[in-house]
């Protein structure tokens, strides 16, 4: 290359942003950062305020944490024999959840597999819309359905004395948690690379063999997370179980027994407990217990999901 002299170019006049634009942007970014942190503040605030209302009862004479957690005697308004044991409520919560999961997990995962592996694109769109709508039905409407439709069916079919019971709540909760299991489960299956599918099909596997031998093992963490999030939803559900499970505070012996859950108990009694009373504070303590349970469940689900992403 010859190095003929090239004239220096004329200096460029560069435009400047107005200082107000720069300052406005700085302020806006500050606000954005603050909003980002707000989620943490809210979670802390929820714990703080619920715990703050519950705290005084911890030091109260006659109250013991062991009794609160493991006694099944719940007589908050008794004149002589006041007991705050939530064990029956905890068992109630978990039995309803367990029943719901026994029904919802096979259906949810089956539907997830069908949606992601077996059906055509148009049917998939339709099914996904239905799932979304199913997930949108408010819990009070589910509770109402349990109270009216489902309880009548249960009385007619099983001859149980009352239709609002463990079975009813379990069925309603199952219907409520199926959508979340389907959508998260489908995401997990979708995350399996297509090359696995192609390799399987190239080896002459049928779709079913592919699902059973390749996709399920590959997606098992995601499917587990889907189930856990379903559990989280079911444990935390309030209105539906309040209306559908009946009101008996005792450890259920069969699926046709009435039960009460931790959530329903708060909803049912908070209105009657005078603010500042022991009863009121114990209900808040139940809230702390619930918060902790769902925290652990969600944390586990998140860790499981994160585990897949790492891989």
């Amino acid at each position: 290359m010859d190095t003929q002299p090239i004239p220096e170019r004329a200096p460029v006049v560069r435009p400047r942003r107005s200082p107000w634009a720069v300052r406005g942007e700085w302020l806006l970014e500050l606000i954005i950062r603050f909003c980002g942190i707000s989620a943490v503040l809210f979670v802390l605030a929820i714990f703080f305020f619920v715990f703050r209302e519950a705290f005084p009862v911890l030091g109260r004479e006659g109250f013991s944490l062991t009794q609160f957690l493991f006694s099944s005697e719940w007589y908050p308004t008794s004149a002589t024999h006041v007991r705050y044991g939530t064990w029956a409520l905890t068992v109630g919560s978990f039995s309803v959840t367990a029943l719901a999961m026994i029904i919802a997990v096979p259906f949810g995962l089956g539907a997830a597999i069908f949606v992601s592996e077996f059906c055509g694109p148009r049917l998939r769109e339709v099914l996904k819309i239905v799932i979304e709508l199913l997930a949108a039905i408010p819990s009070v409407v589910w509770g109402f359905i349990g109270l009216t439709v489902m309880s009548k069916l249960i009385v007619d079919l099983t001859g149980a004395p009352v239709g609002v019971n463990l079975l009813n709540g379990g069925l309603i909760l199952a219907l409520m948690s199926v959508p979340i299991i389907v959508s998260i489960g489908e995401d997990a299956l979708k995350a399996v690379p297509d090359s696995y599918r192609e390799a399987g099909l190239a080896l002459g596997a049928t779709r079913w063999q592919l699902v059973y031998r390749v996709l399920l093992p590959a997606a098992k963490n995601g499917l587990l997370a889907a189930v856990l999030l379903g559990v989280g939803r079911a444990v935390g559900e309030t209105m539906a179980v309040l209306m559908a499970t009946g009101h008996a505070v005792h450890i259920p012996l069969g699926v046709l027994d009435s039960v009460r859950t931790l959530t329903a108990n708060i909803a049912a009694e908070l209105g009657e407990a005078p603010a500042g009373s022991d009863h009121y504070r114990v209900l808040f303590l139940t809230g702390v217990l619930l918060f902790s349970i769902t925290f652990v469940v969600n944390l586990t689900a998140d860790l499981v999901i994160r585990g897949i992403r790492r891989k």
Binding site: E25, E29, I32, R33, C35, G36, I37, A39, V40, F42, V43, A45, I46, F49, V50, R52, E53, F107, G110, A111, F114, F118, L127, V130, I131, E132, L133, L134, A136, I137, P138, S139, V140, V141, F144, I145, T148, V149, V178, V182, T206, R207, W208, Q209, L229, G236, E237, T238, M239, M243, T263, L270, G271, F284, F291, T294, V297, N298, L299, D302
Partner: protein, 297 residues
């Protein structure tokens, strides 16, 4: 050639299993659709005698055993829009922070975890929080404000999640192209990222509306009441510092707390609530379909 690809017994078994599996999974999916259809049909049939324009604009009469749902309907609209006004800006900005500003460090992992947990906190715990924080600590009392704020915090994760998804769908190469020409982060977000994710954000906002409209537990102890006397058909019956009725709460009340309610009344209330929520959701879906076809790249 015929013999070469003839069915062996093994293949026949494989095929039979295949169609069995397909059938079972199909039934499981249908088992999910059936309840939706059955429930909606049943509710509408039972509600039919009561459903009318008059039912919507009339007030409850005879101790809520007859009449309409006007005060509850308006109350729900109040709660939904005030909670939306709080949750939408907060949620959208939080999502912008998480997807555009946050780097992958421990602090932002905690924020992520907080968002996930906020979504998982049971609604009744939100109610306790609203009672402790807004009704008592902030001294808003049992009021529309307290109830709306509780709803706003509860539905925040809905907006955050869908906004983040919408922002993440804008290709990273666009951002890099903007940074390369000396655009600041905010200039990039405002001119490229936001305009191309607005449909997703809008969907999130709509979903928040449907969620807020249906919730009962969080407003039960913070601002919703069983009954409040209101003139028939008044447009703005409530002040923000007083309690109000709400559709979801009303359905709970007349189906469990009030004896002797005319049979079709709770059904009609349920149909109105369900119809409103499903309509809002359907509009979100429609919006998504329309805007997806207008993608710019």
């Amino acid at each position: 050639m015929d013999t070469m690809f003839a069915e062996t017994p093994l293949v026949r078994v494989k095929r039979r299993r295949e169609s069995l599996a397909r059938g079972v999974f199909f039934c499981m999916s249908v088992a999910m659709i059936l309840p939706l259809v059955a429930i909606v049909t049943y509710l509408v049939v039972k509600a039919w005698p009561t459903l009318s324009w008059n039912f919507l604009v009339d007030i409850p009469r005879e101790g809520m055993r007859e009449g309409g749902i006007w005060p509850a309907l308006v109350g729900t609209i109040y709660l939904v829009f005030i909670s939306l006004a709080v949750a939408a800006p907060l949620g959208i900005l939080a999502a912008i922070y998480l997807s555009e500003y946050a780097r992958d460090n421990w602090f932002n992992r905690i924020i992520n975890l907080a968002v996930i947990n906020l979504a998982g906190v049971p609604s009744i715990v939100h109610a306790l929080f609203g009672l402790g924080a807004f009704v008592y600590a902030a001294k808003f009392g049992y009021s529309i404000i307290s109830a709306s704020l509780t709803l706003a915090i509860m539905t925040l994760p809905v907006i955050i999640a869908s906004t983040r998804e919408a922002l993440a769908s804008v290709p990273q190469s666009f951002r890099e192209a903007c940074w390369n020409v000396g655009a600041t982060r905010w200039q990039t977000i405002r001119s490229i990222v936001l305009p191309n994710s607005v449909s997703g954000i809008l969907t999130g906002v709509i979903l928040q509306v449907s969620r807020a409209a249906g919730e009962t537990a969080p407003i039960m102890f913070t601002g919703a009441v069983f009954y409040k006397a209101v003139e028939r058909g008044t447009l703005l019956p409530y002040y923000l510092d007083e309690q109000c009725m709400a559709l979801s709460m009303h359905l709970y009340t007349i189906s469990t707390q009030v004896p002797g309610v005319e049979e079709s009344l709770p059904y009609a209330t349920a149909v109105v609530l369900l119809g409103a929520v499903l309509l809002v959701n359907a509009s979100a879906i429609a919006l998504r379909v329309v805007l997806r076809s207008r993608k710019k790249w």
